[in-house]
Symmetry: C2
Subunit: 151 residues, 2 copies
């Protein structure tokens, strides 16, 4: 399997769990729930959406706990944060590395995308600006096929 290829939900869950264990973070039911949801989600959930899902199993969970877990996972590079200026950040626990996204301006859907030539762009930017590039963010905004038909 290629490095960047998607793994099964169970694989990602185990991977994140192993990371937490290896660094001696405590394994709590709330953290396990967040891990499971992140590993299983293909739709880039928001903190609020994760919160609602966790609450089904653990109704006393606080939103602060969701945020604290996300901050932890971000620091361990186990979740990718897609920050948006309107204050609705979204999270990707399956591919926790920079990659292009396609965002529907009609329904808000966010999909992963792949582009071969991105490494070339990074090199081009480095040569032009002298910057030592660390990471990037690439979003395409437009109408998905469904929204094209209804608009």
């Amino acid at each position: 399997m290629a490095l960047n290829e998607s793994k099964t939900s169970a694989d990602r869950f185990q991977q994140m769990l192993d990371k937490l264990k290896s660094l001696d973070f405590r394994i709590t039911p709330q953290r396990l729930a967040v891990l499971r949801i992140l590993a299983a989600s293909e739709d880039h959930p928001s903190a609020e959406q994760i919160f609602e899902k966790v609450r089904i199993e653990f109704p006393t969970t606080s939103l602060a706990t969701i945020y604290k877990t996300i901050v932890l996972l971000k620091g361990l590079n186990e979740v990718l944060e897609l920050g948006f200026p309107d204050g609705c950040n979204r999270y990707d626990g399956n591919r926790p590395f920079p990659h292009p996204h396609v965002i529907c301006t009609g329904c808000g859907k966010i999909m992963d995308a792949e582009l071969k030539s991105l490494d070339g762009l990074k090199e081009e930017i480095h040569k032009k600006t002298g910057f030592r590039i660390q990471h990037h963010r690439l979003d395409f905004f437009g109408l998905c096929q469904e929204c094209q038909e209804t608009m």
Copy 2:
């Protein structure tokens, strides 16, 4: 001159002013000040930074006026908003169309960049996802040359 090539500050100012006039928006001293600052800035100022500059000339100006002017210009596609999730949005009045940026993670500097192959990427994304792409956002994060030397 190529379409996307940068124009002089005076050209951009006149262009924005003409747009406002042609649509019968009122030409106020505050708006003129914001236009001048946006047209002259190469460093992608924040609303607060624009506010401070306007206040030198018009000390009674309100921050709300800055935001209202920015919203107006955004709607007329005369300024590009670079929204960031930490709530420090930046504005580009010189190239009010999507284009790549290089952002220094050391000093926060934001520079424009150019990439030939972006249109190709848009086409590639369209073919893969079926999305009708409207606009995009591409940021590269890394260390600028100065920050590389001091870190």
